[in-house]
């Protein structure tokens, strides 16, 4: 269903509405008169230039001196000129993300580097096959609406395809019914695609309900009983990360983890053989699934990162030579 609406539909309408409001609102304010601040058009991809030019000619009509002056008294104008930098950033950001998402949907080839952890996953599944022992996969302990869980499920699809083609047993304990449904669907699909639907059974993905630590205790028991050769943790993990990784370590399994929870990453790094950190998890799932939303978002964010790096480097150079106060004030947020 996600492909039902395209950017040309309701989204453009929404952007136009936004643009219109920001174009009309400040016009009613007496302060906005002179104009000089223009958004750099050269960095703008062509698709939404219309919207942008509409914005840059009407709403962003504040001189640079306005931005730098002390906080403009809020009562004077309806539009808060001290927040113009946020507006520019937001519009630029939106355009970049939307354009990349559109390109991703059109099937344009967008390059993402291979995440090295994914090779490790393949190797680890291979090892489990050699040893004739199962692979354990946990897609985190959060609901399906958490993007980390979604990323975990999409990596599960890939792992399931490997285990299906090697005929290696797979165990996937989950904590929520919704995750159960999604996981079963993905795994079944993988077994069909790998041409081994007979090996699929519904117990591969199993529901282990309960409180956080009750879930962990059950999974730990599973590890000690079934002695999986490979444990893969991909998704949102919290305090249980350490318990899982330690038990897996004690059971002698190869372990690969991925999470965006910064507080849990150190434990995975210390106790697992390979760890996907933070955004690497999303990148891995985008790489595998080629889901336009993930891919477009990732590429858009990459573009922004380069822009930010350039802005920072310019700032550092200016600061090192002792000038550039006007430049720093462009980034003032308070």
């Amino acid at each position: 269903m996600r492909r039902g609406l395209t950017i040309s539909g309701i989204n453009v309408l929404a952007i136009l509405l936004m643009a219109f409001t920001f174009a009309v609102w400040p016009l009613s304010a007496p302060v906005m008169a002179d104009s000089s601040q223009v958004i750099d058009d050269s960095t703008t991809p062509e698709i939404l230039t219309d919207t942008l030019s509409e914005l840059s000619s009407d709403s962003a009509v504040v001189s640079a001196s306005d931005i730098m002056s002390d906080k403009p008294a809020q009562n004077d104008s309806v539009f808060r000129t001290d927040r113009l930098n946020a507006l520019v950033l937001m519009i630029l950001f939106s355009i970049v993300i939307l354009v990349y998402t559109k390109w991703a949907r059109e099937g344009k080839r967008l390059f993402i580097r291979k995440i090295s952890g994914l090779d490790e996953v393949e190797e680890a599944v291979g090892r489990a096959t050699e040893m004739g022992k199962p692979v354990l996969f946990i897609p985190g302990i959060q609901e399906i609406d958490e993007i980390e869980t979604i990323a975990g499920i999409s990596i599960l699809g890939r792992v399931a395809r490997m285990t299906a083609s090697y005929d290696t047993p797979l165990l996937v304990p989950v904590r929520y019914p919704m995750v159960l449904a999604a996981g079963q669907e993905v795994v079944e699909q993988a077994y069909i695609e790998a041409g081994n639907p007979d090996s699929y059974n519904r117990d591969i993905v199993r529901y282990v309900a309960g409180e956080q630590f009750a879930f962990t205790a059950t999974v730990n028991g599973m590890m000690m009983r079934e002695r999986p050769a490979t444990n893969i943790y991909m998704g949102a993990f919290f305090a249980e990360s350490l318990l899982l990784a330690e038990t897996g370590n004690a059971a002698g399994s190869i372990q690969i983890a991925g999470t965006a929870q910064p507080a849990q990453l150190p434990f995975f790094v210390a106790a697992c053989d390979y760890t996907l950190m933070g955004e690497e998890l999303y990148a891995a799932s985008a790489y595998l699934s080629h889901e336009p939303l993930l891919l477009g978002g990732l590429k858009g964010q990459d573009w922004m990162k380069i822009l930010l790096i350039i802005l920072i480097v310019i700032g550092i150079i200016l600061a090192s030579f002792g000038f550039g106060d006007w430049y720093f004030s462009l980034f003032e947020s308070m």
Partner: protein, 221 residues
């Protein structure tokens, strides 16, 4: 209808916030009705109901387990009884008796302070044991990265305790200060900043997609 209306609602409700960010509060006040805080208070009200959804789920799951006499149904029954023991006295107005309601001295308050809170603290206190045994068994200097991590961890653990601080100082007076400046406020700070910026971009992208109705995972799509 089933998807378009929610998308329009999501857009408008987000758009109000963006609008309110850029304009002065007076320009979005209509008599008694201040647009921004009013919409936000609506959100907090709806958010409150969301919490109740979880309670209904718990009751349903446990009730079914008890009805079917599943494994360990006695425990589920204990959960059910606890839910009602906490909830029923709380919703009765405390005008009838100080035992009702949620104020000091009520059953609700007592159950929280003497059962729920200590148990919740204990659940997390157990992690101390796990972390110690994990440190002992799992943390190995298997490569450069893990070594770097462990060395920093040991330094920080020493630096954060009075005994360790004395030890570090006995090696050289300035070591605790150096850890604070170059590890915590230097390397650690810089990495956290990089992560914060990356995560902020990710969250903003997600928000944009939700507002524009491109991202519909939350609708179960």
């Amino acid at each position: 209808m089933k998807t378009t209306v929610p998308i329009i609602i999501a857009f408008l409700s987000g758009f109000v916030m963006i609008l309110a960010f850029f304009v002065s509060p007076e320009s979005v006040t209509f008599g008694n009705f201040e647009l921004e805080p009013e919409v936000l208070s609506w959100v907090t009200i709806v958010g409150g109901f969301t919490l109740l959804l979880g309670v209904v789920s718990i009751v349903r799951v446990n009730y079914n387990a008890v009805k079917r006499r599943n494994d360990g149904w006695v425990y589920k029954l204990a959960t059910l009884i606890s839910v009602f023991a906490m909830a029923i006295p709380a919703v009765i107005p405390n005008g009838l008796s100080p035992l009702f309601g949620t104020g000091p001295g009520s059953i609700y308050d007592w159950l929280f302070n003497y059962l729920d809170a200590p148990m919740m603290s204990t659940m997390f206190a157990m992690l101390a044991f796990y972390i110690a045994s994990a440190a002992f068994r799992a943390f190995r200097t298997r490569n450069t990265e893990a070594t770097l991590l462990l060395v920093t961890a040991v330094l920080v653990m020493l630096w954060r305790i009075p005994m360790g601080e004395i030890m570090l100082k006995s090696i050289h007076e300035s070591i605790p200060g150096l850890i604070n400046t170059y590890i915590m406020n230097g390397a650690n700070m810089a990495v956290q900043r990089g992560i914060i910026i990356g995560a902020a971009l990710g969250a903003a992208a997600m928000s944009l997609r939700i507002m524009l109705g491109i991202e519909r995972t939350y609708m179960g799509k």
